[in-house]
Every structure is written in C-alpha cells, then in structure tokens.
C-alpha cells in the first residue's frame, strides 16, 4: 500500500469514521426525495417533453426541419454529437487513468463522473441516429449485417462506421466499469435496507456480494485491467470521432492534428462538466467533506493544461494552413477568423483559450463560484469549437459558386434541448437512487488520509 506523507492534505475532512461514510452516502438513497430534487426532476422531464416534440417533428417531416442546406450538410447535429461525446470523456478518464496513477483524490468524484460519462454518451448517440435521412433503416443498416437483397455489407472505409464501433464499445465498457464499482455499495445499501422493496431491489443489484477477501482481490485485479483497457479506449474514441473530419478532403477538416487536439478538448470539456455537476451535488447533498476544495483545485489544474493544449492546437492549425501553401486551406482559416462566422470563432477563442488561463491564479482556482462560472463558459466554448470546425469549414469550401450560409431553425434548437432533458433526467435519477460516492473506495482511505477525530 502507498505510504501517505504527513504533510499531504486530507482527502476526506471533518474527521469522518468509516461508519459515517456509510451513513452519509447511503442516507441520501434511503431518505424520502427532497422538494428541491422533485423540482429538479420535474424541470428535466418538462425539458425532455418539449425537446421530444422537436424530435417527433424531425422524424415525421424530415431533416428539412433543420436549417441545413446543399452546402452545409451537418451543423448543430454533429456539433452536439461531438460536444456530448467530449463531455463523456471525463468520467472514465478520471476513474481509469487516475486509478493507474494511484491518484486517490479521484475516489470521491469518480462515481458521479462515470455516471455523467454514461449519460453524456447516451445523449451523444442520439445524434448519429437522428441526423440520418432515414433513421428507421439507418439504425440497423449501419451494423455489419447483410443487406436484404444479398450480402451487401457495410463500408469499413467510412469513419462513420468506425464511430459506430467506437461509441458502442466505449459506452458498454464504461457501463461495465461503472457497475463493477457499484456492486459493493449496493451491497451496503442492501444490508441497511429497512423495507422489503429496497432490500429486494438493491439485493438484486448487488449480485450477491459478500465482501470476501478473495473476491476483493479479484475485484481489484479486474478494476486495474479494466482501467488499463479503458484508458486507450477513451483516447481512441475521440481520435476516431476526429477522423470523421480528419480523413475528409474539406479544407479545415483535412488536418492531421485533429486526434490529439480533439482528445485534449474532450478532457477539457469533460472536466468542466464534471465540475459543474459536482459543485451542485456537493452543495445540495452537503458532501463538502468528501468533495473538497483540493479536488476542485486539482481538476482546475487539469483544465488549465488541457485548455492550453487546445489553444496551442488552434494556433498550430493556422500555422499549418499558411505553411501548407494550399489556397483553399488558407482561405478556410482566414474565413474562420474574419468571415461571416467570425463571432463564433472569437467566442470559441475567448471561452476556451482565455478563460481557463484565469486558473493560474490560486485565488480563482480555489474559488467555488469562479470555478462554477468558468466551467460553464468552457463548455459553451467547446460547443462553439465544434460549430466552427463543422460549419465554417463547410460553408465556404472549394467552389465559390456553392458558398452558402447556415441559419438554424427551431428544430435545431429543439433537438439539442431534448438531449439536455434526457441528460438531467438520468442524472437526477442517479443522484437519488444510486450512491453518488464510491463508499468502499472512500472507506479504504478514511483511516489513511482522513483527519483524526478530535477526541
């Protein structure tokens, strides 16, 4: 086991005992839902319904409900897709990579982060299906099944097909990883259960967990290997998403820097989203002792780093465009910064490159309110990043005769709102019925790193 240096900040404050951990976390699940929760859930469901109407019209009337045209064939749909996938990176990344690096501060945040990952990926997955002209066929024709009229298969040259595999693999592996972590905690709740229903439900969910030393040791091996597998997986997912653009011929898309730059961007936005959510959760559930300022500060540092990487990527793109000597490429980038969509480009720059730099100051990086605001700004910026890449590259590509503008219609907004409704509905359900913090893991560090109780 790792020896903790004396001066190391405690990861769990308030002199919690192992039992306190059980009580604090399981308590959330056991007590009646609070008014605030009810309200939050109601709002989420309402949003879901409103967005649902947009989705219905889209599928009923056709993609024409969106503002797309002959020149700009993708806009909000794929922007939202990439944005959600990006957000869906933090969870698994935190759990996996930080586990490999034995970063124990992950322990009190990874559960929520992983949940967020899974829900974000679900939202992301909506778009590849909804953006199809014929989703009722596309959702299964995109799988490697023989075509009805003979063995015409899918096209493995297509990055979209790679996406199908990448996203589904990433989703299922993350889900497993998350659930394995949940089993011992479900067992805890099961054994504290006072009424039949929760006893039955959590009994079923806990898979008959008995905390035996043998099982624990296997459990740790599994966790470690899963982490080992999940890490390259996380990196591969956004790499492959970036191939959608990188392997095309469109100036502004056709760029080899995309994989690393997209991954950095994903971590960037993912951590921001985790912060946004955790700051709320910790407030509502009074978990200040588990999710401490130190956690927030450490995550802010990750945000500075990834934010800076993204910033450098933006600049590199311009350099390469100039260096390549390719006319269309050069125009594409000048057009981004000075063309009709300059406002999108500069919002992106401000939100993604400038705002995170504020975290260099310890004052800001340890200020909850500031962190909260910036974390939201960052995700706005990351949405614009994808919008800029997709729309401004398409709207003026090779033949000036086809240059056109993209104007969103209400359905573009509606479907985006739908995914928000979906995301928060799922997240609030999770926050109520699942242990939001990994009890077993936290317990293992209470003694080692918790503050000693004042006797």
């Amino acid at each position: 086991m790792i020896a903790e240096s004396a001066i190391r900040e405690p990861l769990v404050t308030g002199g919690k005992t192992v039992h306190d951990v059980t009580v604090d976390i399981s308590g959330r699940v056991e007590q009646k839902p609070t008014k605030t929760w009810m309200l939050a859930m109601a709002v989420s469901l309402a949003t879901l319904a409103v967005g649902g109407y947009a989705v219905m019209r889209l599928v009923w009337d056709g993609i024409g409900m969106w503002g797309l045209n002959k020149t700009v064939g993708w806009a909000w749909d794929i922007t939202n897709f990439v944005w959600w996938v990006g957000i869906g990176h933090a969870g698994t990344l935190i759990s996996a990579i930080l586990l490999l690096f034995r970063q124990r501060w992950r322990m009190s945040i990874n559960r929520a982060a992983e949940a967020m990952t899974i829900f974000a990926v679900i939202c992301a997955a909506m778009f590849p299906v909804l953006h199809m002209g014929r989703p009722w066929l596309g959702f299964y024709w995109a799988l490697p099944l023989p075509n009805t009229f003979g063995s015409l298969w899918v096209n493995f040259n297509s990055p979209l097909l790679w996406d199908v595999f990448a996203i589904s693999t990433y989703f299922s592996v993350s889900l497993v990883f998350w659930y394995i972590g949940l089993i011992p905690d479900f067992a805890t709740i099961r054994d504290r259960a006072t009424n039949k229903i929760s006893a039955a439900v959590y009994g079923a969910l806990s898979f008959g967990w008995d905390g035996a030393a043998k099982t624990w040791s296997r459990y740790e091996t599994v966790a470690l290997i899963l982490a080992g597998l999940a890490t390259p997986l996380v990196l591969s997912v956004h790499t492959i998403v970036s191939f959608d653009f990188a392997t095309s011929v469109i100036p502004g898309w056709h760029t080899t820097i995309f994989p690393p730059y997209f991954v950095a961007g994903a971590i960037f936005s993912g951590f921001a989203m985790v912060l946004t959510l955790l700051i709320i959760t910790r407030r509502v559930y009074k978990l200040e002792d588990y999710i401490t300022l130190q956690h927030i500060e450490l995550m802010n540092i990750v945000i500075i780093i990834t934010g800076s990487i993204v910033g450098i990527a933006y600049i590199t793109e311009f350099f390469i465009a100039w260096y390549s000597g390719v006319e269309a490429e050069q125009y594409a980038f000048i057009n981004r910064a000075t063309g009709p969509y300059w406002w999108a480009y500069w919002s992106m720059m401000t939100c993604n490159v400038i705002s995170p730099q504020l975290f260099w100051s310890k004052k800001i990086r340890t200020n909850i309110a500031a962190t909260f605001v910036i974390s939201i700004i960052v995700n706005i910026g990351m949405w614009f990043e994808r919008f800029v890449i997709i729309v401004t590259s398409l709207h003026r590509d090779f033949l000036p005769s086809s240059w056109a503008m993209f104007y969103p219609k209400w359905a573009d907004v509606g479907v985006y709102i739908f995914t928000f409704g979906l995301f928060f509905t799922l997240f609030f359900a999770f926050a109520k019925f699942f242990p939001v913090i990994n009890m077993a893991e936290v317990k293992s560090i209470v003694k080692a790193t918790g503050e000693k109780k004042q006797a």
């Binding site: 006319e327 590509d397 090779f398």
Partner: protein, 1031 residues
Amino acid sequence: MKETKKYWKGLEQLKNSAEFQEKANKEFPEYLPIADGEEPSRRDFLKLMGFGIAAVSLAACETPVKKAIPYVKKPVAVDPTLPNYYASTYVSGSDYCSVLVKTREGRPIKLEGNKLSTISGGGTTPQVEASVLSLYDQERLQNPSIDGKKATWDEIDAAVAKELAAVSGKVAIVSNSIASPSTQASIDALVAKYGATHVSYDQTSFSGMLSAYETAFGSRMMPHHDFSKAKTIVSFGADFLGSWPNRTANNKQFASTRKLSKSKQDMSRLYAFESNLSLTGSNADYRTPIKPSQEGLYVANLYNALAKKLGAATVSVAKVEDDAVLMKAANDLLKSKGASIVASGSNDTNVQLMVIAINGLLGVYGNTIDASKAVNLRKGDDAAFASFVKGLNSGAVSGVIFYNCNPVYDHALGADIATGLGKAKFTLSTSDRNDETTALVKYVAPDNHFLESWNDFEPVTGYFSLSQPAIKNIFDTRQAQQSFLTWSGDNTSYYDYVRANWETNVFSKANTIEYFNFDAFWDKCLHDGVFEAPAEAVAAEYAVDAAAVAGAIAKTYSASKSGLELVLYVNNSVAEGTQANNPWLQEMPDPITKATWDNYLTVSPKQAAEWGIELGDMSTQTVTFTANGKSAEIPVLAQPGQAYNTVGLAVGYGRTKAGKVANEVGVNAYQFASLVNGAVSFTATSGVSAEPTGNGFKIAQTQTHETYMGRETVVQETILSKYQKDSQAGRSFPKIATSEGMKKPYAISLWKGHEYPNHHWGMMIDLNSCTGCGSCTIACQTENNIPVVGKEEVLNRREMHWIRIDRYYSSDAEEGDLAAMEKAAENPEVTFQPMMCQQCNNAPCETVCPVAATTHSSEGLNQMTYNRCIGTRYCANNCPYKVRRFNWFKYHDNKQFDKNTAMNNDLGKMVLNPDVTVRARGVMEKCTFCVQRIQAGKLEAKRDGRRPVDGEVTSACASSCPSEALVFGDMKDPNSRISQMLQIKQNEKSVEAREPRAYHVLEELRVMPNVWYLTKVRNKDVESKTEKAEA
C-alpha cells in the same frame, strides 16, 4: 400497383371499340402507304396508329377505376418499356424548335433537338425542354365553353357561325407571328369568308427591324442571320443568344466560331453595347454598358467610323465620348469585311436602318445576312395592331378571335384591349388556358397542345418542318386550325389540309427523282420532321438614306448619362411568359442572376448603394418603380455590368390567370412597354423613377457568391493571342511536395487503382462554347425526374438540380485581397462553368458512406444506390464540387409541394421518366451520367450483337446543348468524339487527356474526375487584369 391501375383506367372510355377504331382512323384518315411493309415510312405510320390507341388511356384521368382491360391486340410498335421517337415541332408564341418526341407507352416524356434541322440546329432551349410538362398541366382548358359554361363543339360551331355572320366585315383575327403556311392558309380562309382582318404581333416586337427592311429592301421581314460565318459580331443590345428567334441555331453557329483546336487556332470576336447584362453580353469579348438613349448615337458613330475608312459619306451626329471600344470594333469589322454581323435589338426603325447601312457598307448581305430569306417567326406589325386596338374601342372592330395569344397580358396596349373587349359583340379565344385575355371573351374554343397537333412550319424561307401528334387529345380540345376550317365552311380535316398544302406547295421544291411519289416524300418528311430546300443566298439590292436617318437619330438620342432609364428584357427561363405556369421554368435559375421564382429590377451596384438599398445574403429591398405612367413595387437586384442609371426588368412574370404556379409571381413588365412611333418599345428613356420603400424582400438565388476568388484550379482562362503562342496558356499545374520533391498530384497514390475493362464514360465541357443558356439544367430535370422545391426551399439553398451552371464574374481586386476579391468588377467578364457530378475515379463521397450506398462502377460511373442510402449526408459534405442533392422532405405526393406538379397530381405524373426512380425522402441523389440512357444504349447494341457506336449513348444535358459545349462518350473507344477531342491516352489504370486545354477542376485533390474542362479563351488583345493596370 396503384400506378398500373391508373395506367389502364382510361380504357374505360372504350366501351365501344368500333367507335374507338373510327376515332383512331379519324386521326390518320383513309391513307395507307402503298409502299410494302418493309418501308420504314410504313412502320412510322403504324406507330402513329398505335399511339392513338395507347394514348386514349390518358383521355380521362379522373374517371373512377372499375376494371382494367389488357391490350387484346398490342398496338404495333408500342412495346412496354421501349421508347418510341417521333419527329415533331415545338411552337409557343413566336418561338420555334424542331424536335424529336420521346414517348413511353404512349406518353410523351421528353423532347430532344432534331439534329436534322439546320434552323434549330439540333439543340433545345429550356422552354422547349419544359414544354412537355405543359402538356400535362391540369390547368389547361379541358373543354370548349360559352360564357364560361361548358359547351360541345357542335354548339360552339353553330354559335360561332351565326356570330361571325353577324359581325362579318368587322372581324379581327389576332395572333402571334404565324410561321405555319397551312395555319396561315386556314386563317386566310376565315378572313376571306368573313371579310376579316388578320393582325399579328410578337411578345418581343421586331417591328422596328421589319419596317427598316421594308424601307431598305422593299419587303417587310427579318432576314436570316448566319453567325457561323461571322468573324466579328457587334451587338447593340441584340440578345441573339438569349432571346432572338432560332436562338438554338444562333448558339450553335456562334459557338462553332468559338471552338479552338490544333487545326482551328482562330475564333470570332464579339462586341456588345448594351444596358442589361444579357446572355449575349456575358459572352462578349468586349462589352460596353450604354444607356438606351445613347444607342442610336453609338450605331451612327460606328457608321461614321466605317464610312470614313471606306470613303463613304459620313453623317452628322453627336460624337460619343470614350469611343475607344467602338473604334476598335470598327477596325475589326473592316479587317473581317463581309464576314461580320452588326445587329441591334432596338425597335426604332431609324436605328435599324442605320444598322442596315453599316452592314451594307461591310457588304455582308448574301454572306452572313441573307435578306432573301425571311425569318417568319417575327412578322408582327405593331402599327396594324395599334389600329386594331383603336378599332376595337371605337367599334370599328366588333368581333375578335384570339388565336393562341394573350395580348391583354403581354402587349403594351393590354389594358386598352381589355376595355375594348367589353364593347365587342363577338369574342373568341383558342388559348390553352383561361388566361388574362381568355377570361374576357365569350367563346372559348381551346386549341390542342402542339404535341397533340398536326401542323407544318416554315420558320425561315425554304426551310420546312412538320408537326405530328405524339398523343391523342388529353382533353376535349380541338386544333384551332380545324376550327378555322370548320367555321369557314371547309370540312376537310386539318391533316388532309396540311398534306394537300404540301403536295401543291412543298413537294414541287423537292427533288422528284428522289421520291417516286408524294406519299414517299411525305413519309420521309414525317420521319425526318424537316424538309429543307433553301434557295441560294443573294446579295439583295437595298437603299438607305443614311443622312436622313442620322438626322432622325440625332433628334431622339443624346450622349448624356443622366436620368434613369428602363430596359425590359426576356430572360432564358420563363422567357415571354407563355409557359409561365411551368414550375421547371419558374425554378430554373436565370443564366445571369441565378435567381428563381421572381423578376426584379437589375440595378448597377453603385446605384443600388445610392438608393440606400440594404443588400444581404439573398435579402434585398423593394422600390416603388414608375415608368410609362405605371407604378409597381419591385425588388432590386444589384447586377454587376448593368449600365449606370439604367434598370432592367424581365417580362414573362406577374401573371394573374396563368395557374397556381405562375400567379402572383413577380410583376408584369409588359405594362411598362409603350408604343413609340408605331413600334412597341421595350425601353423607356424618360418618366422613369424609383423610390426606395425600405420594405425587405428575399430573392431566391441558387448562387450568391459572385467571383471565383482567383482560384485557378477551378476556372482556367486565357486570351487568344496567348493561346496561339502556347496552347497550354492559362492552365495551372498544381504540384504536391513530397520527400522526392514536387510531384504531379496524379503521380502519388497509396493504392494500386482499378482498371475499367469495357467502357469508361467521360464528358468534355468546353468553357469557350458554353454560352450559359441553361437548357442542360431543364433537360436533366425532365430526364431524371428532378423535383421542383419552390421559392422557400430555394431560399433555404435546397434546389435539386443535378447540373447547374456556375456563373463567375471577374473582379478588379488585387490578388490576395480576399475581401475585395469577393466583389465583382463594375463591368465584369463572365465565365459560365457547367457543374455536375464529376464521376471521380477516386471519389471522396464513396469512401465515407457507412453503408456503401455510393460506389464506383466498372465503367467509371459513380453510382448512387437510393434504396441503400440512409441519408447521413457525409458524402455531400465530402464532395469538393458540392453536386450532391439531398431529399430534405418528401417532394412527391405532398400537398406542401403542390407546385411540383410533375409529382403531385395524376396528370402531371404522366411526364415522369419510368426509367428513373422518384427518390424517397431522406436519400441523397446526384447526376448519374444518365445511366439509364447508357444502359438502354448498351442493350440496343447487345441486341444487335455489336458495341455501342459513338453518339448512340449520350446524356440528356449533352444532347440538349445547342452549342455542343458538352460532349459525352466512351473514353475506351479510341474513335469516339470525346477520345478524339481530348486526345485520350488509355493507361492501364487511368486515362490521360493530351489536349493541351483539357483540365480537371481541383486537380490537386487527386479525385481524378471523368469530366474534363477546356480552358476559357477570350478574344481580347490584352487580359483584363493588364487592362486595369494600364488604366
């Protein structure tokens, strides 16, 4: 299933087959060629027979389906799935074209140019291509009527006979120019019987030119121009490529002088002096924007310049300043003396006389202009027409018969006619719809559509053509000529009438050794569609008093640049508006402005700015426009090249009673035309004003970006002198940097590539001969069942055309100044670039489709599998040429798209090509190189156990192209036209064009298209860039 039922339901009509047989016989009465059955002519005849039978199936689309009756006897030559072609003639208003009608199971579905006709040159115009849809227009009149009440033909005949007798001597028969001898004869018969007068007018009047020739040559006519012989052409607002009669031939002839090759290193030069940027002007080497009020002076000044050099007497007129270009033109005219054409679109007799004088000086009569041959498509006499209108209002004329014309809408005096009609005792119209004029008459005796009619034509003296029905009457209509004969008491059928007419008048011109009797001759003509026996061109005598004419000109014209002036024009989509209710034409982008579904004031950008018009992405503002004492609120379109202080406005719009497609689209421009000394003038030089209203307006354009941003891999152009020195002049050769230094893009590859063992289809597009007319767009729309999406969707940038013509203006900006390069020059050079799927051999679209819905064929075709497509649109995004089109909505059987008449009503659907799928919602589509035509051609060849011969297989666009700018063919066939012209070299896995002008658009991407472009060569002394530098 549903379809099949519909197909049969018309047979309901045949309750009594005997009666039906009789009907069928009526169509081709008691004549059977004595010739033996092997004669092709006989087969033709039998085909016709078959038609009647198959065609009746259309006769009543609305009757309920009770039972389906199969053919008991299959009509000869009507084989399901096999098309039949019939030579016929398109006619609409004063417009003419000799065509082949393609029919499937008795339905005309496509018109192709008749290659045998020298008058229409084998090409088509957008109006010709679209007219087949007009045949299936639900809003055509479906039966005769009296006072708006349905009537039978017998009732009509009885009533009309009585009425005519009553108003005898005071009857006028009004029509557009009549190029048909037999029709003229039938009218004359009526004229003779009732002492009537026949007045004809043209929607676009040539009265000025006609009377000029009357004065100078003694015969009132428009002479036959032959542009193929012209080395220098000077046009004063004469849009001979865009709106003149026989413009198909004009395009062909003009283009033939622009083609360049190893053997032909010289080309013609075209000067244009005009106010609006016309199709002709946009093809000019030197174009000068002038005001209509200056035109006369320019013409006179040119005369003087020539006269000085040729030692003739000069005339005294004010000199025009900045006449550099004019003098240049004069010198070129002298250089190519006799091989030149000077033409003017002015309707001012004096200007036309001056033009005659110039042409006379240059001795072109008998060479490029043949005054012994009249163009019978423009015979309208505005003076006569004016007096008719006066008579109508004074009561001198109390009976009117309108023969397929709509003067209330399309004549300057329309309003007076409308009032006059109230006073007339007897009014009758034969129009095909209840249009602005027909709505005001008592008797409506609807004429057949030309595809349902027998007729003959003599568009130009000595050139004849026939028109035969390709389908039986869809509605209870009767051919107008038949009506005329009936009313004049002659009860021979019009078919017999035409035939008799030919026997007496035309057969005599034929070489009788060739045809042993008239039947043989007739069958041959019917088969060919044309019979041409032109007389030799002669240098006719003429007399023009130049001095007197100059005097008149000096009075009416001035060099001043002040004061707003109006020039009405005919665009090449809706044209004169006769077919305004045709959605294909409404949605066809104007060749110059690329606007659809509207007319608008074309205003020079400078002026638009002065008026404070806020211009955005397709958004503009309207002005209250006043001319000729009439006002209307009209949107403004900033048009580079528009002469400052002039505005242009297209006629053909603002219909109120044409049908649901055309009504309320744009404003009627004819109301702004006025009678100036006896001729309808399309220009207004005084009393013109425009008041900005500040009201916003959106004009749906398919192209909003003006310039090509100096991208040499897109458009490659040069000037003649440079080309003559280096045939590769203007080409750009992109190179890719590799570890072994710079390389040609095609020298680098990850892959082995594929070979195309059997055929390798390709296309060559000569930017030099493409005049931008847009026939290909509509030809493609007809051939490939391309939906019309309506103004809203065009505004959403979702038009569906598979082939578009990119129109680029030149820019004065410095290379690199991107912002400035977006703006067109004040008087720009224009480049037309037809753009369709490039059928890339390394297609980026294929790679990215997740379901392999778009793949490459072993014949080099980029195939689109509609029923496999799931609509991710990734292919369209990844297409560098942006030629893929997506079905955003369900365009067929959808009330929201009821303007897409070809897919939204039972009758309209008859026009659909059964060989091409109507695409479902949510799938991608694009140009297929007309794969259905390729397959048909291959099958034909296979049946005869041979390879397809070159020209047998061609795409709709290429076959429609009047200037033969598009050449389609098999690059594997070393003798094919395309292989020859491109000097194709077949490598194992790629083709190479050795023609120095041939290039691939965006070569650097290495997508290896199968479409080659030939560089644009302008016949200028110095490139415009250097010109600017010098200036």
